[in-house]
């Protein structure tokens, strides 16, 4: 048997995952049992002069001979292709599986796996096998297996089979969902000479600042003639209207992808990809994508780094191209290997606002947030842990959860006391992240 082609992770949504195989036909064991029983009955019938035994054996032997007569003559060559669509608004992706089967096969037994969890088997004829299609519900964002196919060919009414063969495994990176965020906190210091926000420096494009006497360097079109007429005391006195400069904000999104935990504490040790509920990393990706999209849309600059890896930071930038750079990087985040402990916080541009998106189940991301805050940056800690119900837990488990929750709460309180804004993305009391961010957007504390 030979196989070629494979599905890679992170492929384009409309990419074709294909495999081909040349399996060997295997005789169904039932044929051998049929020959033994048929010949045995017929032989005993002849020996004992019992025609009815020969009559009972005859259909079995004829069925065996007929199956042998229809034995496939050539080695089968099977081509399998899987097309996976994009995530729709209803959180589904479509898939199409197509088999090109040899002429002497009757049908095919196909085993389909959705998201590595749901399994469905069908036995279909050759014509139907050319177009098998359906939709798969998507629960998680990020890199994941969408659909996998195993199959087995049938010939001569199942008298000849192939061994079960692995087909394509279609892995895709599913984009996170974004929510609209209208008002966002801004950094303590604005940078740049252009942007959507007012800065404290005099310049062009911003709101009215004051009226001042004309000085070298002022533009002529800034002269306010009405004020000049009113205030000028000597010939040559000119007055200009001065405005604030505009500036843009720089937001750094630091996503901690080390933890990927579900709602139920009992599932914290198991793989989360097969769960039917979103996990903390899904929430984190959604939060990071929403924040990045909102800042870019308001004309600001956004950078991104996965705190769980030692890879390079995506340098802050603005515009749609930067958004198309940042969103795939956010979507690709996944827990990788052993957790990384950094000796120092990654260097970030001066005057940036830093979003630390984490479950804060350990000290690492909280330590990073503290370091950035101490360096004078505005820091927003986005808590992505899903509130964990404890009602159905055993007393020991409940006690463990309580200890972990208290430690986490202490960590978040310490961040708050340092002047770090804390946002709960999945709040138990129904306060949306947008309203929490709006509250913090109104507060513009200077550096402490």
């Amino acid at each position: 048997m030979t196989e070629s082609g494979s599905a890679a992770s992170g492929r384009r949504a409309d990419a074709l995952d294909a495999t081909s195989a040349e399996p060997r036909w295997v005789t169904n064991r039932g044929l051998i049992f049929g020959v033994i029983v048929g010949a045995g009955l017929a032989g005993v019938g002849l020996l004992l002069s019992r025609p009815e035994l020969v009559l009972v054996a005859a259909p079995i032997l004829v069925a065996v001979v007929w199956t042998l007569a229809r034995r496939p003559k050539t080695l089968p060559r099977v081509e399998v292709g899987t097309l996976v669509g994009s995530r729709s608004s209803t959180d589904t992706v479509s898939y199409h599986v197509s088999f090109q089967l040899p002429d002497d096969s009757d049908g095919i037994a196909v085993r389909l796996y959705a998201r590595g969890r749901e399994r469905w088997e069908v036995v279909v004829d050759r014509a139907t096998a050319t177009r098998l299609a359906g939709e798969i519900g998507i629960v998680h964002s990020g890199p994941q297996e969408i659909v996998r196919v195993d199959y087995e060919l049938l010939a001569a009414d199942g008298g000849y089979l192939t061994v079960p063969l692995p087909g394509p495994r279609s892995r895709r990176v599913i984009s996170p969902k974004t929510v609209s965020l209208r008002r966002l906190p801004l950094p303590f210091r604005m940078l740049g000479l252009a942007g959507g926000h007012s800065s404290a420096r005099p310049g062009d494009g911003g709101e009215f600042r004051d009226i001042s006497q004309f000085a070298p360097g002022d533009r002529l079109r800034r002269i306010d003639w009405k004020v000049t007429v009113r205030r000028a005391q000597a010939p040559g006195d000119l007055y200009v209207r001065r405005s604030f400069a505009t500036a843009d904000a720089t937001a750094l999104i630091m996503l901690d992808a080390r933890d990927d935990v579900a709602e139920l504490v009992t599932n914290w040790n198991s793989s989360t990809t097969t769960l039917d509920q979103p996990t903390s990393l899904d929430i984190a990706r959604d939060a990071a994508a929403s924040i990045a999209t909102a800042y870019i849309k308001s004309g600001d600059r956004v950078g991104f780094q996965d705190l769980s890896s030692l890879g390079r930071i995506i340098a802050p930038g603005g515009g749609t191209r930067q958004l198309h750079r940042v969103l795939p990087a956010i979507a690709r985040t996944a827990p990788k290997g052993a957790p990384v402990r950094r000796l120092r916080a990654p260097l970030i541009p001066a005057g940036a606002i830093v979003y630390v998106i984490s479950t804060f189940l350990d000290d690492e991301s909280a330590r990073m947030a503290e370091l950035w805050r101490v360096a004078g940056h505005r820091v927003v800690a986005v808590d992505t842990l899903i509130p964990t119900p404890t009602a159905k837990l055993a007393p020991a488990q409940r006690a463990a959860v309580r200890i972990i929750s208290m430690e986490r709460q202490d960590r978040l309180s310490a961040l708050s006391s340092l002047g770090i804004d804390v946002i709960h993305w999945t709040s138990q009391d129904g306060v949306t992240p947008e309203s929490q961010l709006s509250v913090h957007a109104r507060i513009s504390r200077g550096p402490r």
């Binding site: 039932g30 029983v37 035994l53 259909p59 088997e121 069908v122 036995v123």
Partner: protein, 188 residues
């Protein structure tokens, strides 16, 4: 996505394959046939538990020759005492033994769950009927002719047995050799 919505989407994951039946219904049908054969042919006697055991093994362990074992048991119990006159049990066993051979072959590849296209089942049923209907008719004719009152019953000779035996041996060689040769070619 709520659990209800997810359940609905999970159903849409299953590809549309036209007219089909759940595999569980097919397995249930096979179980009904096996039980009918056991209770109808074996009856309530000491062999019934053995027959039921073979029926269960046919369904639970399809790679074992349990189906053919059950066929032998049914044949042995029905045709144990000599009676050339056609009875309904003989015709049921004739159909049943052939069906057990087909079931045994089919259960080797039938999935545990999912759906099977009616076209696939129809093709298998057609093959079964093409062989079984002539077999029933020929059996009826042969057994009628061989029954005590027929003239044909007197036309017996030991020579016929020798000829038939040689013919059967040739048939077995013709059938087994290609199977064994194909088996030797298959990879481990």
């Amino acid at each position: 996505m709520t659990k209800t919505e997810l359940g609905e989407v999970n159903r849409r994951f299953r590809p549309a394959i036209g007219r089909s039946v759940p595999v569980s219904i097919v397995r249930l049908g096979i179980a009904v046939v096996l039980l009918t054969l056991c209770f109808g042919i074996i009856g309530f006697n000491l062999y019934l538990p053995f027959g039921l055991l073979l029926a269960v093994m046919t369904l639970a362990f399809p790679k074992t020759p349990a189906a053919w074992g059950l066929a032998i048991l049914l044949v042995a119990l029905t045709l144990g005492s000599y009676n050339a006159a056609p009875t309904w049990q003989f015709f049921v066993v004739l159909a049943g033994a052939h069906a057990l051979h087909q079931f045994g072959m089919m259960l080797a590849w039938l999935p545990v769950s999912g759906r099977i296209q009616l076209r696939i089942l129809g093709r298998m049923l057609r093959s079964y009927l093409i062989i079984q209907i002539p077999a029933q008719l020929i059996s009826l004719v042969v057994l009628t002719l061989l029954s005590g009152t027929s003239v044909v019953a007197t036309l017996t000779s030991p020579l016929f047995g020798v000829v038939a035996g040689v013919g059967l041996l040739l048939l077995v060689i013709l059938v087994l050799v290609p199977i064994l040769r194909a088996g030797a070619d298959e990879p481990e």
